[in-house]
Symmetry: C3
Subunit: 143 residues, 3 copies
């Protein structure tokens, strides 16, 4: 089985957002896989995807604090035409990565108990974001 | 061919550990693939996986030094309920990533000569760690 | 369909290089896929791959500035046998990652408008670099 579908996210404030449920709701066909993979690509260069703790909102706020500290707006950036938050956003996006590959097992995403998908918005006004989801694997009905 | 298997790692000290051989020993079926992929997910949010130099142990100690310097325990963390090593561990895990996708070629993992799989333990007492391995590809017996 | 091919890159200066076109030129078979994935592994531990902005060369220079600042040559490195640029190169390689998984849709790489593939050369004289490309998916001729 192969499936490919775009998932649109409404604009979010700068920060780290837990989106596991929205991703799964958009891909009910995962339920029919015995074993497979889900690949997610965020089709932008100033937002990113990562897997991390799905429980405490303060963890996600700490992500924002650390990344702002490590990749500051005040730096000797050459590329500053698109605002002070743009170039840090590009660097953060590459540090975290723009895609995730996640295993599927018996119809479910096989993450650890505490793992969730973060949509990381690195711009002040990033606008709507588009994810391309690709799913492939062996159907439960195959021998 | 599709294969999915959990690989358990006994508790390791905080630091970067070369585990290529343990991963391969747990997946002898890779030998039957002509071409394919191995996907590894560490099902935790305070440990991670990366590919790096498989020879000098001092490289792995330098990884630990740099990551401790870049993501220090002494920082204005809001989430500190689980100890001073917890929040830095989450950030390090996302910087390095929780999964690896590795090509298989003629029955072998097609890494570069100097590449090996690191299990990165970011907590002082992280406990046992679980990897979910997924293998798929074209068998050597297929036409 | 499964395809695996090595792509060789001539030596490049230290820095971030846009190589999307060279990768695609080496893989014309992508055009025959309805849906699939392209996986790229750089088979080295002091160079890396990432996806980022494909337009302004100053973005790529800013990447070099920030990574040099964040992972400096002057640090208490234990592993310094191979020169001052070696250990920072290993750390940068793991921060950015040595592989990319990219979706293919209707015969084309399904990246965002502004996304391109960077070959990140972290050594002063890294020499030629080898990428292993693996492509798999559903052919356009399959029902």
């Amino acid at each position: 089985m192969w499936l490919q579908r775009e998932i649109r996210f409404e604009p979010r404030p700068r920060g780290f957002h837990l989106v596991t449920m929205e991703v799964l709701d958009a891909l009910p066909e995962i339920g029919s896989l015995r074993v497979g993979l889900l690949h997610l690509l965020i089709q932008h260069t100033s937002a990113s995807l990562t897997l991390n703790e799905n429980a405490s909102p303060d963890v996600r706020r700490d992500f924002e604090s650390w990344f702002d500290h490590a990749v500051p707006e005040r730096f000797d950036w050459e590329h500053n035409l698109e605002g002070p938050d743009d170039m840090p956003a590009h660097v953060k996006a590459s540090l975290l990565g723009s895609s995730l590959s996640l295993p599927v097992s018996r119809g479910r995403l096989a993450l650890g108990t505490w793992q969730g998908v973060y949509l990381c918005e690195h711009r002040d006004r990033g606008g709507a974001r588009s994810l391309l989801a690709t799913v492939w694997g062996q159907s439960r009905r195959e021998p």
